[in-house]
Assembly symmetry: C2
Homo-oligomer: 310 residues x 2
C-alpha cells in the first residue's frame, strides 16, 4: 500500500563529534520517505526552494519515491543548523531558517488521493490537520511532533492528536505533552488525548509502544506495552533523522502488510529500530540511500537475537 508523507524537505548543517557537514539534504519527510521506500511505495508532499536541484530530487526518485507532490517555489529551502558536539542524545539547534516553509500550504495532488497510509511528519499542526482533512479515506494515520508545537501550539496540536492511529514522539516530548515525568502515566494521558497508540522513542534504548482502548479495533484491549530494542552502536556519526527513519521503517513495514494487527505492529517497531540504527551510521541521509533489503533483514535478525530468550 502507498504511504503519503507530508513534512519538511530541507537542508541541514550539522556538527557532531565526528565532523561537520554543510547544507546536506535532510528534513523529516526526506528521512521518512527514504526509510519507508525499502518496504513500500512512498509519496511525498513538501515545499522546496530554488537551491533544491534535480540532483537532490534524484536522491528520492532513485529510491522510487514519488515526488510529484513536492512544490518548487522561489526562495530558499528550509535550513536547519544544529550541533551534537555536547551530547549525541540531544540536538542543539543553532539556527532555523524556515524560508519557503513560512508560507507553505500543502495541497494533496489528485494522484495521491488513493494513499491508504498517511504520515504527518513534524510540521505545524495546522498543516498536519489540513493534509489529514484532504485525505478523508486514509486507512491509517500516524504522526510526529516536537517541543515547539507542544508548548506553543497546544490547541492546534490537540486537533491533530484526535485523528491519529499512532503518535511517535520521544521521551521528553511525551512527558512534556502530558506534563508528567513518569513514562507510564504520561503515556496514559497522551492516549486520552486521542491517538489509539503511542510510540515513545528512547534513543539508544529503543522504543516503547502503549496502546489505547481502541487500538486494533475489534480485537480487544491490548494492555501490555511493547518495547523494541535499539542496536548498541560503536559509533554514532550523526543522530539527525534517526526518529524519522524509525518512523519510516515502522510505517513502511506496516503498510507493506495486508493487515494492521498487533503482530505486524510489533514487527514494525523492530523494523523502525533497525532503520534508526542505520540512519545514524553516516552523515545526513547517506546510509538511508544505500541500503539493501538484505542488510535490513540481517540487522532485524540481530535485533531478535539481542532481545529474545530463545
Amino acid at each position: 500500500m502507498s504511504i503519503l508523507v507530508v513534512g519538511s524537505v530541507a537542508f541541514d548543517s550539522i556538527e557532531t563529534p565526528t565532523g561537520r557537514r554543510n547544507r546536506c539534504l535532510g528534513g523529516a519527510a526526506t528521512y521518512f520517505a527514504l526509510s519507508a521506500s525499502y518496504f513500500t511505495d512512498v509519496r511525498v508532499i513538501g515545499v522546496v526552494g530554488e537551491d533544491f536541484t534535480p540532483e537532490h530530487e534524484a536522491v528520492l526518485t532513485r529510491r522510487g519515491v514519488d515526488t510529484r507532490g513536492l512544490e518548487h517555489t522561489s526562495g530558499k529551502s528550509f535550513h536547519w543548523t544544529g550541533s551534537y558536539v555536547k551530547s549525541l542524545n540531544e540536538a542543539h539547534t543553532i539556527d532555523t531558517e524556515l524560508n519557503v516553509f513560512e508560507t507553505f500550504a500543502p495541497k494533496v495532488p489528485a494522484v495521491y488521493q488513493d494513499s491508504e497510509f498517511l504520515f504527518l511528519a513534524n510540521i505545524d499542526p495546522v498543516l498536519q490537520k489540513s493534509v489529514r482533512e484532504q485525505m478523508p479515506k486514509a486507512r491509517m494515520v500516524c504522526g510526529d511532533t516536537m517541543n515547539y508545537w507542544i508548548t506553543g501550539h497546544r490547541d492546534n496540536l490537540a486537533k491533530v492528536l484526535t485523528g491519529l492511529d499512532a503518535l511517535l514522539i520521544n521521551d521528553g516530548e511525551a512527558k512534556l505533552l502530558a506534563d508528567n515525568s513518569n513514562l507510564v502515566l504520561a503515556a496514559r494521558k497522551v492516549l486520552s488525548m486521542g491517538p489509539k497508540a503511542l510510540i515513545v522513542k528512547h534513543g539508544e534504548y529503543g522504543a516503547t509502544a502503549f496502546f489505547g482502548e481502541h487500538a486494533f479495533s475489534g480485537t480487544g484491549r491490548v494492555s501490555t506495552p511493547f518495547r523494541a530494542p535499539a542496536w548498541p552502536l560503536e559509533e554514532v556519526v550523526d543522530p539527525t533523522g534517526a526518529g524519522d527513519s524509525f518512523a519510516g521503517g515502522f510505517f513502511g513495514y506496516l503498510a507493506s502488510k495486508p493487515e494492521v494487527n498487533l503482530k505486524n505492529f510489533k514487527h514494525a517497531m523492530f523494523y523502525g529500530g533497525v532503520m534508526g540504527s542505520f540512519a545514524v551510521e553516516r552523515f545526513g541521509t547517506e546510509r538511508m540511500q544505500s541500503l539493501t533489503r538484505e542488510e535490513i533483514d540481517q540487522r532485524f535478525a540481530l535485533f531478535r537475537e539481542l532481545s529474545h530468550l530463545d
Copy 2:
C-alpha cells in the same frame, strides 16, 4: 547451588517524592540476599552493630537466608542517608556513616566454604579480593562496584575485575571505568580488564550484557550482546536496592540451574529485571520480603510479552 554474598547490611534513611523512611533495613547484601532467596539458598557475610536487632535478622532468616556469617560487633551499623527527590534515576547521597564497616575484615566461615556461587556486592575492592581468595573453589564469581571505588581505588579494583565471571554496574559506572562515553566501546574496554561478561544496568530501560572471549568457555565466542527490558512502572516508590535486587534475581536464577550457559544467562537477565521492578514498588526491602514465586513468574511472563515478537 548455594550463593555466598558479601556486602553491606545497613540502615538506610531515604527520601523520595512519595515520602521518607528513617533507618529502614537495607544494604546491598540484604537486597541481594532477599532477592536471590526466591531462587536458591543464600548465605551472607557482613558486619552489623548493636542497633541490628533479632527482628532485623529475622527479615533475612524468614526468607531462609543463612546469617551465620553475619558478624555482630560493638558500635553502630553502616548508615546511608540519601534522597531521590530531585530525580528518581539517581541517588543523591546526603550522608554515609561507615561505622562498624570501617574496620571490617570479612572471614568466610568453614560452613560456607562449599558455596559454588560467590557475589561480591559493592564494598571496598580490598575486601572483595580477600573474600575471593578465601573461596578458591567458587565456580562462578560476580561482582558490583561504584563510582567511589572506580575513581579512588582503581588499582585495587583492577585486581578484583580479573577474577570475575560477570561484573554488574550501571551505565555511568561503565563509562567512568572505561573513560569512554560510548556504551559499546566502554563495554569492550571493561571486558579487557578481566571480567568474562559485563552487565550494564540502564534503570528504567533494562540492562545489556556484553560477552568477552572467554564467556561460556568451550562454547565459542558470543558476539551479540543481550538486552533485557525493565517493566514500565506507574509508580517508583523507592529506587534504593533496585540494582542489588537485579543482581540477586540474576545470580539466584543462574545458581538454581544445573548449568551456566547462554540460554540460562539470558533468562537470568530477565529474572534480574523482574526482581528490580518489584524492589522499587515499596520503600526499602518491603517488597523483597513478601513476594511469591508465582508473582515472580507472572511478571517474567509479562517481560516476555513486552519484548518478544511472537
